[in-house]
Amino acid sequence: MKKHALRRHTGFHNVLLDGFIVLCLLLVVLLSIYPLYYVLIASLTHASVLNVRPIYLLPGELTLANYQIIFDTLNLFNPLMISLARTVLGVLVTVLCTSMVGYVLSHRDLKGARFWVPFFVFTMYFNAGIIPTFLLVDGLGLTNSFWVYILPSVVSVYEMILVKAYIQNIPASMEESAKIDGANEVQIFFRLMLPLMLPILATIAIFIGVTQWNAWYDTYLYNYNSLHLWTLQMHLKDMLDQASSIRVTSTLDALKMSNRQATPLTLRLSITVVTTVPIILIYPFFQRYFISGIMLGAVKE
């Protein structure tokens, strides 16, 4: 950046400015991280403590009881598996299909390219609305089915544009020489382009994976009556509602009989943590990819 320039700045004003900036940034860090940290320590605190005195920095009475309860009594193993399944399968399918479409549309000489690209991009800004979409999904028999998590998002248009832009930056001579060697476009895509695209594939895999993991709306709208297809996010969403906490309360009554203490709050907190932890765990690994990804998108925009 402008390192050598900054180095020459000394003097009281500059130190003051630096100090002010560091303070502000520390505040940003605190604001960003504290809510998540608080949920973590509160979920590790025994329910009886949380009712008596507030905690701010450290867990009250360290316990894993809340987690035991959500996995034993609320049976959170199945939703965890559903969430994982839709994320893994969704990423595989969507990355492959999206990059395939991106590869095809990266050809500027494609017959009807002036039609195909807007045909895809238009859908980013325009949708039919919830009722017509619901009727379609229902008509296709996708309600109360796992496939509603995968099929409607087979191609992700925004990510497709990223891939297309990335391929257009790869020298066209590579594809041409492969063609001269007698390869057709399918072979070129799988053998030549996919390996070359790995950085952008990693980027879009992150975006798609996070979207899949975080999705709740499709479960809520299409799979509400199929409890066995509920994801973690859906269970958490359900616990946010007043009405459904009645069901949780009955679970809690059953718990009281067996002398284990929990409140709707501690249950919700531990589910929140379980839902967030996978994202935070893989976050350091994918960090370096998404910045290059968003930059690419920004450059094209």
């Binding site: 045909f119 009727l135 544009i161």
Partner: protein, 479 residues
């Protein structure tokens, strides 16, 4: 494709189109009598033809449906209304038949006569005829379903319908392949077409559902049969004249303007501060942490909000009480007056860090010579920011502000998950209102109308934003 092969392909396409045309006169609808999940008997009826052994008009296929129904279930009551309906359906049936048969003939003729291998027109005609026929078959099934109105009958497309579809698709492929460019790019098209069809089904096809906006559709009605409202725009008029209209528009615009209006300045400020940080490691750390909220789901965020701001045991209320700032818990989540600040704060928390990435990148691409020159002129750091950095990133800031205004009517997750019935005065926005009306109150037609209103208005805004951005910077957003 070689000329001889192209000729063969065209001939084959012609034959296939002929088969498709003929198949329309074969039984295309299958009516089954289902009892306890078992098919007792069934009859197959052609759409356009020789029902009851005589050359007849399209109506007769329909009449024979009733004959079969009467015969199978003696007690079935066919009302005069449904008979009149069948009569009425005959006329559009014939018109539609002509509409789909003629293009097919046209496509065939064109292929025979055209020596220049132009493929656009035949493809368009084939697509049109396929589309008209498919929609006609489904409309017909729908009409018959309602008219017979006996639960145990099941109407489905039968084999000749699939023959029709298959022959049309195959001849489409063949006709397309006679085009030189398409043939050269056949592998590319092979990879593209499945997804083009997928996109059409999932994104474009539901737009036909917009017809619901002009009807009073409920969960068990037939989309096609339901009469149009009078006046046609009744749902729209109802929405605009309802007391909710002004409320919803006010909330949508105010809350989005509040959020977007604060988002850009704060993100620019964060980017500036990050750029001015001397320690690269500290900068990296702040960046990492401030992007994190972007990846947290809205459900989790709503749960965090509930944990922090609830009335019983929420940490904010506890803190306020402990500091002696309030003597009773405040209903941050319940009372409308807190909602705008709450929702804006939460959205900013989630987005400011992420939004700053792009500005930081813009700052880092400013020419370093400019800073050197400014320093030689004696500019302080603040002056450098004001006179070098800010003007340099202004175009990007402008584009993003313009781009954001295109989304000013949108926003579902935060409002739906954090808003509640008690703060509806401020938490109801266009998207959540559509959801409430459609899914909550099952007013499908009305909700479709509201959704359509929003989509069209939003698209208009986007187009305007795009125009302004192009004028402003020469960069186009809608690619």
């Amino acid at each position: 494709m070689k000329v001889a092969n192209a000729h063969k392909a065209r001939l084959l396409a012609l034959v296939l189109t002929g088969i498709g045309l003929i198949s329309l006169f074969l039984p295309g609808i299958r009516l089954s009598n289902i009892r306890r999940g078992q098919e007792q008997s069934s009859v197959q009826i052609s759409l356009f033809s020789l029902a009851r052994g005589q050359v007849a008009l399209p109506t007769d296929a329909y009449t024979s449906l009733f004959d079969y129904a009467k015969q199978e279930v003696p007690g079935v009551t066919i009302t005069e209304d449904s008979l009149r309906l069948s009569d009425a359906s005959a006329l559009p049936g014939r018109i539609l038949f002509a509409a789909c048969a003629l293009p097919l003939m046209g496509a065939m003729l064109h292929l025979l006569l055209d020596k220049k291998r132009r493929t656009g027109l035949p493809i368009a005609l084939l697509l049109l005829s396929a589309f008209v026929t498919v929609s006609f078959v489904f409309a017909y099934i729908n009409i018959a379903m309602i008219a017979t109105n006996v639960r145990q009958f099941q109407l489905r497309p039968a084999y000749s319908f699939y023959i029709f579809l298959l022959s049309v698709i195959l001849s489409l492929v063949l006709v397309a392949l006679t085009d030189r460019t398409v043939y050269r790019q056949r592998y590319l098209f092979g990879m593209l077409m499945p997804f083009a069809v997928w996109l059409f089904v999932f994104a474009y096809f539901p737009m036909f559902g917009w017809v619901l906006a002009f009807k009073n559709y409920g969960p068990s009605d037939s989309i096609f049969l339901l009469p149009f409202l009078s006046p046609l725009y009744k749902n729209f008029a109802d929405f605009i004249s309802s007391p909710d209209f002004l409320l919803v528009i006010r909330n949508t615009l105010t809350l989005n303007l509040l959020f977007l209006g604060l988002l850009t300045p704060l993100a620019v400020l964060l980017a500036l501060m990050l750029a001015e940080t001397r320690s690269a490691r500290f900068r990296k750390m702040v960046q990492t942490v401030s992007y994190l909220p972007h990846f947290i789901s809205w459900v989790v965020v709503a749960s965090l909000v509930q944990t922090f701001f609830s009335m019983d045991g929420g940490i904010v209320n506890t803190l306020l009480a402990n500091l002696g700032l309030s003597d009773r818990p405040l209903g941050f989540l319940q009372e409308s007056r807190y909602f705008p600040a709450l929702i804006t704060g939460v959205q900013l928390w989630k987005s400011v860090g992420w939004e700053s990435i792009i500005y930081l990148a813009a700052i880092s691409s400013v020419n370093p010579d400019l800073y050197e020159a400014a320093m030689i002129d004696g500019a302080s750091r603040l002056q450098q920011i004001a006179y070098v950095t800010l003007p340099a990133i202004l175009p990007i800031v402008g584009i993003i502000i313009i781009m954001n205004t295109g989304w000013i009517l949108s926003g579902f997750d935060p409002y739906f998950l954090i808003g509640s019935s008690t703060n509806r005065d401020w938490s109801i926005v266009l998207d959540t209102y559509t959801f409430q009306m459609g899914v909550g109150k099952l007013r499908y037609g009305y909700a479709t109308a509201v959704g359509m209103f929003k989509t069209l208005l939003g698209l208009g805004l986007l187009v305007i934003a795009n125009r302004v951005a192009r004028k402003f910077s020469g960069i186009e957003l809608l690619r």
